[in-house]
Structures are given as structure tokens and as C-alpha cells.
Symmetry: C2
Subunit: 365 residues, 2 copies
DNA sequence: CATAGGATAGAAAGCGCTTTCTAAAGCGAG
DNA sequence: CTCGCTTTAGAAAGCGCTTTCTATCCTATG
């Protein structure tokens, strides 16, 4: 039905092998022959059959990008950056495939199977991971197997895989023999949270609420650890209160709203609220305003991520900026093997405290 | 290297054909045989070779989703909805591939080639199209060719393809013979804009600025047409001013900011500003506030799309809601052939005026 | 008890491409 | 003018799967 290589070959008066060589370009073909083939391709509107090509060559130009929520700009920005590294102009010429896992470990596995089936050239997993030991192990096993089969695996914004144990590591230098072990681009969530809480403490806040993300996510834990480390640094007594002033929710606006209501119930004297991320912070602000509290006059609010809308919120949000675009681009290059692997396989991306209008010294003391 | 069908067959003590039948499930296999095969698959950790499978079956389970900007929630929501229809549970079991065109016609064509190469099962094109005749024709040709080759083509949020002319239409009833002509899920941008401007006029606004999107985009033109139709309906004299009170920009915040500054320069007596979309509206608000104007006290502001953050902006944004999720889901089902084609191949999605705090009657008159 | 007919499984022919192996020219050097 | 090397192109063998066509084994029926 469709035009095939053989049709082009016949039209150009050459063999199929020659056409293939002209198109892949990794073999010398005389100029005259080449242009004759190219013209035939043109005239017949020939389009390579990808599956056939992938089968014969045992490689494909698909790169999978797994995201937790494609409608969330956080992931959109990362995915966009990864994809921009795959541009044909940049020497990639890969097809970046964004897969929406919805944060579900099962779907993550499902998509990985689908990608493995397609013999994807690389896979980039973004966003926090679920800390369920069973899932962690299943995921790690599959990722190592993918890597061993020649698919490049890059984790972006999640912690590196645990060390392989059990039957793995048959050769001394792990990851050197096969396709290479999974690589990681990690965010310094802990450090960022620590600086953020440090900033609030320096302003004089002592009763700081925390509307955290889902309890089982790595990112949630890391940010919480940073927060508590800062509290402990300042005054170990604050740590005792921290537990009571922390509520968990999802990474969305309504969690911020509901969480804030709960926090106010627990501690009406709150002078600051930290949000799991900027989207949650929006909900926090809405709840505070509805409670008749001004920001930052009565309560300071801070978020995490520094998404595009954060500087535009009113008041502009104090937040911890994660260079998402840079991180995504880095992950993309690692996935393409265009950047050399970072030492230890882990590149940590710095986060930066952005102090804006939503945080100020608490009224009086 | 990898485990193949033959390995599984050998292990299960059956032929390759049987294994294939067990896995595809569209042929009766005796229960005992089936479970023996399944066990072998399990034990060998067999994963189908997608390219080989696609080649032999002459189909693939890839569905391409082209978006203008993956970091923009507008597209994120649509893509997410399309993808949710592809869930294995929903009987789809397709791999939705989100491709970021950056709004560039060339990249659009590039990705379509890539998808055609992969023999994609369907392609969904989202977002406004560029109104360059040369590109429109090139795109239409390629899409019709894709459709003819059996790939389902769905346009979402852009106008239907122009009627095929020239050498096309060899058979009387177009689109019936082959895979089917491209389908469209269109947004009623014109009607939405018309109602929005109507709302402002009803409030008493007469000097209404418009920070429009890129001039060459269909969406921009449609919204502008709706706007002007409303003005003309009310008082033809307003139409004369409309040109002067319209500026063009991109679909981003800074365009809203810059555009508003320009509009204020042209007409300091502005009482309302319409934005190309909600993101642009954020920039409009920022510029107005910096100019010392209150919203909606001095100037009313309205947007388009009703993205998640729009209700949270302060003041909450009056806007035209487009049911993006529903539209994306519809497009997804059409792409899967799960919904029957709408009459004329075009399903138009209603838009809804959401009146919120950012618009009010102008001060005095 | 013989035989038609259904159920189940195997053999084998591709799907369209890449790539190794091989052959035919074309060239300068002895 | 011949020999051996390089350049260029063809033949053909798969890549791993699906699917048609056949063969076999039962079971039901006359």
C-alpha cells in the first residue's frame, strides 16, 4: 500500500541497499547516485517505515519522558526542556514522548514496559518518587534492566536509585560494562527548604505552619527534613512543635486551602505558613484571606519551585526557585549521552531562595 | 541479546505462533497451553519487541499529540485529557506521545513526519494554527495523506482543514473510502469573545482595549472577530476605535504587560482591557497596578480560557471558559475511533462566560 | 464403527528495512 | 600493460513478530 524502499530503489534504478545508505548517510555513495535516489524519494513522497527500520537496526529514536502530571507547569517546563534538547538541529533527532503517569507507581511501570517494548533509546523519569519499598524495588529492577539493555535511564528531580544489591554487580565496576547505570539530576530540596525556613526564622517567625505534600513522596520528605533541620539549628524546642504544625495534602491548590484551615484550627497564632509548592501556596493564601488575615501583615506565606505565576501572585510569592529548565535540559543531554555522566552518576541542581513580598517580619513579636 | 518470542516458545514447549496468539489474545488457545506460555513469559521476563510487532502487524499503538507549548497549562490540560482516554483500562492501551512544536509550522511538519514514520495510529493536533497559505496547504496535504494511510487525524482547538481541492477527491463521497478525513473539535472562540465584550458593553464600558495574540493565528483572529462583532452590534461607531485600541503580542505574561503599557499610551482613558488569554491577563493586571490603576475600580480586565489559576488571581478573573478537559477527551475518543464522527466532521465546543471580580461597571460614566 | 467437523497448534511466508559480504569498476604504481 | 588497492554498489541474510494455511487430534453423528 504505502511506498517502500524497494519502490524508491526501482525508480532510481539502484538497489534497496543503496537507497538505505543514502538515507541513513553513514556510508559513501557517489554524488550522482545520491541525488538520483533523493529525487526518487521526493517524487514518490517516500516516508521510512519506522518499525521496519527499528527492527533491522535494533535501535529506535524514541525517548520517553515520564511525568506525574502533564497539566502541571512544573512538569511541563521540565518536559519542554528535555524535548528541546532532542531537536533535530541539536543533533538529537529523537522523538521525545511525554507520558503522564498521574503519579501512580503502577502506571509508571506500565509506561516503562511500553517504552521498553518500543526499544526506546532513553527514558527520563521526572518528579518525586513514592517511598513504598515494594515499588521502589520493582522500579529499580526494571530501570536497571532497561539500562542493561542499552536504554539510557535518567532520573530528574528524584533521588538516585538505591544501590543494587542481591544478585547484581557481577563485575567489579558496576555500570561500566553494560549500557551504563541510571543517572540522576537531583534537586537540592533539603537545602532549599532549610534556607527558606531559615529566612522565616531570621525575620522573627516562631510559629510556622507547614502544608506539606503527600507523606509518601521523596520530595515531601526532603523538604520537610530541610525545614526541621533549620528549626533545630535555631532552637531545638521548635522541633517539638513542628509535628503538630505540619499537615499533609496533595500538590494542588485545594490541599493548600484545606490544610491552612486545619492549621489555623490547631494554632490560631500562626505567623507564617510554608506550602509544599507554589500551587499549594495559592490555596494557602486564599484560605488566609478568607479568614480575614492579611499577607504578609498577619501571616507570611512561602512556596516552593518558583513557577512562572509565582512572581505574579499578589502578593508576589517568596519561594525556593528550582532551575527546572536547566535541570530538564541537563537530563535531556544525559539521556542523549551528549553530556558525560556526573561523578557518582548524580548531578545535584542548586536551589535558590527568592524573597518576595509574601514574607515579612511578624507583627510585633 | 534480548529474550525473543522463540525463546519463550522453546521454554514453553510450543511454537512461536502459539506464543504470539496467547499474547495478542485474539485467537483461541487451550487453557493449559496458555498458562504454560504465560509462565514462560514470566520466567524469562519477556517483553515484546514493539518494532517487530508493528512491522508484522502493520500497525502501531502510538498516538501523537502535537501541542504548541507543553509548559502552558492550556495545552497540558488538553494533552492530559487526550492521554487519559488512552489508558489501558479504557480499552485504549495506546501510547500517547506529546510533541512540543513551539508553535512553529516547520516543527509541526517535522513531528508529523516522525509520527508517520512510526506509523502512528492517530494524531491529534491542538492549538491555533498559523494562517500562512503556504503552510496551511502543506499541512493539509500531509494530514490528508496521513488520514488516507489509515492514521486517524483529529484537530482540537483549531479550525477544520479547508476543503480539499486540486487533484483530490477522486471518488464522490470524500473521506468515506479511505481511513476517513481529518476530524475537528473546534472551540467557539468567536462566540465566547462576543459574549465577553457584550458583558463589558452591558456594564457600560466604551473604551475597551484589546491585547490580542499573534496576528497570524486563527484563534487570535476568531476572538478578535467576536469582539468586533459585539462592538458593531452595540454601536457601529465603536468599531472605528477598535483598530486603534488593539495591540498584538504573544500568548505570555510579558506581552500582556507591554501591550497594556502601549494601550495606556494610546488611550489613557481606557476603562477595560481584554486579554488574549488568562496568562496575558496576568501581565495586563501587573501593568495596570504599576500604573496606579485599580482593578476593577479604574479598569476592568478580562481574559480567555479559564485556566486553574484564573479563579485564584486577585481579583479573580472574569474570563471565557473553554472546557479544555472535555474537548481533549472528545478529541482522544475520536482519535481512537471510540466516538463516531460528528456531523460534517466538526464538533464545536461551547464556551462559557465566567463573570468574576475583575470586571465591574466603569466609574461614573 | 467410520467419518465429518470443530478445536487447537505448527510450519512457513512474509512485513520493510539494515548490513555484512561480495563483486565490479576505476585508479595509480611497478 | 598488468597487478593490487580503493571506491562504489548489489545480493542476500536476517531482525522478531503476525498470520495464513495446514495438519492433527477429538468429539459427535449417521
Amino acid at each position: 500500500m504505502a511506498v517502500t524502499l524497494a519502490d524508491v530503489a526501482a525508480r532510481a534504478g539502484v538497489s534497496a541497499a543503496t537507497v538505505s545508505r543514502v538515507l541513513s548517510g553513514n556510508y559513501p555513495v557517489a554524488g550522482a547516485t545520491r541525488s538520483r535516489v533523493l529525487r526518487a524519494v521526493e517524487e514518490l513522497e517516500y516516508v521510512v517505515n519506522g518499525p521496519a527500520s527499528s527492527l533491522a537496526a535494533a535501535t529506535s529514536d524514541l525517548v520517553g519522558v515520564l511525568v506525574n502530571d502533564i497539566a502541571d507547569p512544573f512538569f511541563g517546563i521540565i518536559a519542554s526542556a528535555v524535548q528541546s534538547e532532542m531537536e533535530p538541529e541539536k543533533g538529537g533527532g529523537k522523538l521525545a514522548v511525554v507520558c503522564n503517569t498521574g503519579g501512580s507507581p503502577e502506571r509508571e511501570l506500565t509506561y516503562l514496559t511500553l517504552l521498553q517494548r518500543q526499544r526506546a533509546a532513553a527514558v527520563v523519569l521526572t518528579g518525586s518518587a513514592v517511598e513504598d519499598p515494594a515499588h521502589t524495588e520493582a522500579l529499580a529492577t526494571r530501570l536497571r534492566r532497561l539500562a542493561a539493555a542499552g536504554t539510557r535511564v535518567v532520573l530528574c528531580g528524584r533521588p538516585p536509585l538505591p544501590e543494587a544489591d542481591g544478585d547484581g554487580g557481577r563485575d567489579g565496576q558496576r555500570g561500566a560494562a553494560d549500557g551504563g547505570a541510571p543517572l540522576t539530576v537531583a534537586f537540592d530540596n533539603r537545602g532549599g527548604a532549610r534556607r527558606l525556613t531559615g529566612h522565616l526564622l531570621a525575620l522573627g517567625h516562631r510559629r510556622i505552619g507547614y502544608v506539606a505534600g503527600p507523606a509518601e513522596r521523596t520530595t515531601t520528605r526532603h523538604r520537610l527534613e530541610g525545614h526541621r533541620a533549620a528549626l533545630a539549628d535555631h532552637d531545638r524546642a521548635l522541633l517539638a512543635e513542628a509535628e503538630r504544625l505540619t499537615v499533609h495534602g496533595a500538590y494542588d491548590r485545594s490541599s493548600g486551602y484545606d490544610g491552612t484551615l486545619e492549621l489555623l484550627r490547631r494554632e490560631p497564632g500562626l505567623t507564617a505558613v510554608l506550602a509544599a509548592n507554589d500551587t499549594v501556596a495559592l490555596g494557602v493564601c486564599a484560605a488566609l484571606r478568607e479568614a480575614g488575615l492579611s499577607i504578609p501583615g498577619d501571616v507570611s506565606v512561602a512556596g516552593f519551585d518558583d513557577l512562572p505565576f509565582s512572581a505574579d501572585a499578589s502578593p508576589a510569592l517568596t519561594t525556593v526557585r528550582i532551575p527546572l529548565h536547566g535541570a530538564g535540559a541537563r537530563a535531556g543531554r544525559l539521556a542523549l549521552g551528549r553530556d558525560s555522566a556526573p561523578p557518582g552518576g548524580v548531578a545535584t541542581v542548586r536551589t535558590e531562595l527568592m524573597v518576595r513580598a509574601s514574607t515579612a517580619a511578624p507583627r510585633s513579636g
